[in-house]
Amino acid sequence: MSSVVGESVQLDPVTFEVIKHRLWQINDEQGVTIRTISTSPIVVDGNDMNVGIFTRDGDLVVAGPYVLTHVTTMDAVIKNVIKHASDIEDGDIFLVNDPYLGALHQNDVAVVSPFYHQGELILWLGNVLHHADLAGIDEGSFCINARSVFQEAPRYFLKLAQRGKVSGEVERTFVMNSRLPDMVALDLRAQLGAINVAKRRMEALIQERGAPTVLAVMDQSLDFAEQQLRERLADIPDGSWSSEVFMDGDRVGSDRIYKVAIRLDKRGEELLFDYSGTDQQAEGAVNCTDSACYAGTVTPIYTFLCGGEIDWNASMRRCVRVHAPEGTVMNARYPAPVSICSIGFSWMAAVAAMRVLAQMFSGSDKYRDRVCPSWSVSCNANNIFGLNHKGKNVGALLSDHRATGAAARSFADGFDHTGMIFSHMSFMSDVESQEWKLPLLYVFRRQLVDSGGPGKYRGGLTAMSALTPYRSERLIWKSQNTAGADESNAAGIHGGFPGAGSQVSVIRQSRIWEKLGQASVPASYDDFAGAVEHLPSKSEGTLTRGDVLVFYPPGGGGYGDPLDRDPEQVRADVLAGAVSAQLAERMYGVVLGDGRQVDAAATQRHREALRRERASGSARPSADVSSEGSDSAHILGEYLEAVGRNGSTVVRCRRCGCTISEHGGEADRSGAATRLSPLAEAGPWLALRWHGHSPNFELFQSACPNCGVLFDVEERRKTAVGA
């Protein structure tokens, strides 16, 4: 029989569009099925799953609108099934959760199935779903105590269905290994149901349009997206940009800081991300596999550059390469533990990539509106387990971390409570749904004042939640906060400050029940009785009656110098409770008078004084302000430009013309007025463990030595004492 794959089909634009729309819908239906059947709040409300349609070789063609890293890693899963399965037949369904075979981490179970037409394998259908618990030493299977992969959830590589018949034995083995078998069983049914639905729809489409045409549309979707992406990249000036982001703590009991070094080289129509210089792999389970590193890194390219205009598919791999040296946290060597990969270093890959992409977009007149250096930079993920009032073991991953903020944009404030960068469908559960499901009571869930990084445009706000056991003697929490209990990573850009970090805290003997009984609801840490312990990023423990767990995910960083912000906007923020009057004055230089009106004269005086103070941080006696002729200029960001002068590159202030550096190239800022200060200066929600005075990080601010405009704020690692 002759193959229909690769059969040459002349496609007209109408057929292309009609079939592409249909493929999207078939895939969408997989997603709807999963969301309806699943029992897991993080799946249904949080959409921690995804669905895809793949070529016969396992290349992603159609991605669902859910968690992006899931479908991006499924490529590798399918390729590994093709490589390692003893045989592949029509009606087979494979179940794979092995991170070393492409799964994002063990919880994210890929269910994939080959699709046959007249006896020939022509494409793959697949979905991934985050299962609430698949065993391992820690409840919830993000194994914050593991030191090798053998202490984590089992890694499965199974044939769940053979020639259309589901194996009850395989299903049972998978389900019974979980601490939450009822939940896992239904979630697996959801995945199977989704595959079945997609298969039926695909059969109908192929019957209607013919396999060669459908396959040609799939191929051309890839070619077309590649072409669009290349064109977009070609429009952006070439260059190289570097950054560093950090993770504080890799497992319970560890305060070790890990560095992710990233460098982006843009040449023509291609991008290369290089993680050379990144720290060696960790002892804890936060490590990332190669495929998860790729998935995390390209996420912000999909969301910020492709948006709704370029299909999210495997064509990315044709223009974007990622190099992560083996043995580092970004590409761990077997048998390193990896069960926190998804919200560990795979997440950090997206955080790092956002930084360098923001720099790249800053230099592009066409795409400057895409600058966004931080968006949900830490997954403040908390698993809660315990016995409910009926003695049943229940547990789930809370979704409150979707209340996180995003960085301000080059034209407007950042989004408050924006969900994850990995999915625009990442929603948060209602408090009532959580309380119905788990034996706990929320004390509050409130918008966190001053959590958005100050800037000309303010970073997005996050929210803080507090909960306590209710109708349960004892709850276990397992907290795997990506990072942010020390440095925030919630970077701003071009003089914008970082937003809130990401923190989990416990308050023992808080007297919460007495307080509630006396009609008093605490609003923050200080309103409880009892000692507050601000926990490191990976933590665990038990909550008994009267104990309270308080947590908040990160905010977003600011854009531009906060002293450039319209005072009336600052006032509006104060009235809406987004910014405190105190921060308005200290960071924005805005003085509010009686009736909380802007005192314009006092504001102007205060702002001038603050600028003078900044300029005084210059090492140079007098600033050189010359508008001396230049051969060419290009914009580096809001306040800086690079000009060619006498054959070398000079960096100067766009506002006053002052020269910042003359000899070190575009990246040189040696002539800036600089200042070091504790993280606390950016706001009240950084490094709480040290009252804002981190022993490891400080704020490094760079301003123009002449006009005092702030053009860069960085959370910088402190150099060793004496260095």
């Binding site: 029992t39 729809r201 492709c306 209602d430 009532e432 869930r445 918008q447 809406a576």
Partner: protein, 699 residues
Amino acid sequence: MAHYIGVDTGGTFTDLVIIDDSGQVHFDKAFSTPRDPAEGVLAALDACSGLLGQSARQILASTSRFSHGTTVGTNALIQRRGAKVGLIMTRGFEDTTIITRGPVGKNLGIPPSQAMDFIHNERPEPIVPKTRIRGVTERIAVDGAIVAPLNEREVEQALRELGQQGVESIAVCLLWSFRNPIHERRIAEIARDVVPNLPLSLSSEVSPLLGEFERATTTIINAYIGPVIVRYINNLQSGLEKLGLSRPLQLMQCSGGLTLPQHVRKEAVSLVNSGPVGGLVASKQLGASLGYDNVITTDMGGTSFDVGVIHRGEFEYEQAPFVDKGLPVQVPAVKVVTVGAGGGSIAWSDGRRLMVGPQSAGSDPGPACYGLGGTEPTVTDALVVLGLLDPNYFFGGRKVLDRSRSEEAIAEKVAKPLGLETRAAAAGIYEIVTAKMSDLIRKVTVESGYDPREFALLAYGGAGPAHAALYAGSLGAKEVIVPHTASVFSALGCALSDITYTYARSQPTLLEPDEAVLATFNEVFRELETLALEDMQSSGFKTDEVMLLRHLDLRYEGQMNELTVPWERQELTADGIQLIRRLFENLYETKFGQGTSRSESPMELITFRLHALKVTDKPNLKAEAESGPDPSQARKGSREIFLPEMGAMQAAIFEGEALLPGNVVVGPAIIERRDTTIVVPGGFQARMDGYRNIRISKD
């Protein structure tokens, strides 16, 4: 002589039908008058009365029912012109509607391509800004227990402050108030003292359902549009009374039933998005009279294409539909799914692809052929170029279209960039939009486990019948019916609807054969029944005229979405638990496929629902005697049309109004009516039945 009047206010036209004793349907329309919609209603009434040779006064004097679908509430919401609302919430959760649920309220209810544009997709302004939200100390837990008593002093102060801020309406939403409404009720008492003149919406009354964000949103919208709707209804009612109407207005709700003015005061939110529902009611009636209990309804206007399903004579419901830009409201609505594919949808190309929508030229500037300054090619322009629309007979010649502008727009924006002939590009636009329509229909039916081949398809709305035969053909639907009253179908639905009050309460319960479960079950339904019968009585109906329909929202323990199952028994007894599981799992497997249910999994019952129905008197529509198949008396001539895959051909043109019952038109042909243009492709034929509906089927 008794008359039944149905009137529907739309964006452009106010449609009105009068059905007389003999079952004859008369209809006409007037321009809508957005500033005071009552004017448009009265104008349409005048016009239609004229068709019967009577004055509005004469007609109203003998009117036994006056039913009305209004967009006043929807418009107030979309244009943010509702009342100034103050909101009271549980302390600690004041920010619930500001935080939303992450990107909920921002990313739903819009095309995915827009939601995927992470950087530019802005969040809509909240209806109640933070400065008008107050938290009060109190807390009720999941089991209804009071864990923090209500601080009444705070309540007084909050109400006083909101009063001073000039709010016009108060919404109250406390956590778990649907389990225990005691604190909300106490706040209502205090409000009657402190702000006696302000209307009050309590979440435990408006929407006693699980999920504080959705419940709060529903309550806020009720508080926001309530005063606007009540003002409008009072105004219209008194205007009609002056003209001699002696019956209360009946108002269309999104549930597909009618309500009375006194009930609207409590539940104004039920009127939001009632617009498209009238058409489904009419479809259900029409389907039944033609022997179809499975009907797909399609309504295509200028900007959107709406699809609904009637399965075994029943509507499908959505328990928490999204309104405006993705705000969830917990008011069960007849399910109508929309996609931005209308006559005004814009076609575009990037030089390689041909795309249609999601942008729309709307009616201003509208398609290029309107000559109102629009330069983008739209679907309507494609129809003109293909010869499917006669530029001189658009809406019966009420608007003359400029074919050369259509050609120019398509040539410039689509054909040239793609290297296509203009007509081929137009055919591509037509094919793509038609495919999107059939994709949506497929989605709506197959997602619910239905096979479109078992359905008849109704096409109404001005733009739909030009596409219907093709999309119905690709789905294999039994036949396409273009109703005689297609252009006023929602108004007809109003006239044919029943009085329906809906009640729901969440009372999450693990479903086990346990005495306490049975007691809860029966008690909740008894309470809802008492409420329903009281409301019906106070609306002037006898309890023995009222039909009660019960539904249960069920799920496996831990699931987050429920399936709604009808419950036909009254009392629940121990053996009924197994029956509930069976009903649930049957529906579950229909929807998600065999092998997805799991009999070992515990089940929970989340929400109890009750519909109280007072069946209204309905006119019997009259069928005319059919004459022979020969339609030649209606033939106007012929012209060249061009269809995808079929190419150019001569099509016979018929004047719809001149066709007689029994006439058969064989495709390729075009039937031009004053309100719509019906395309009958080659291989299809169209027959006019005794109700003057056009029925299209394959030869």
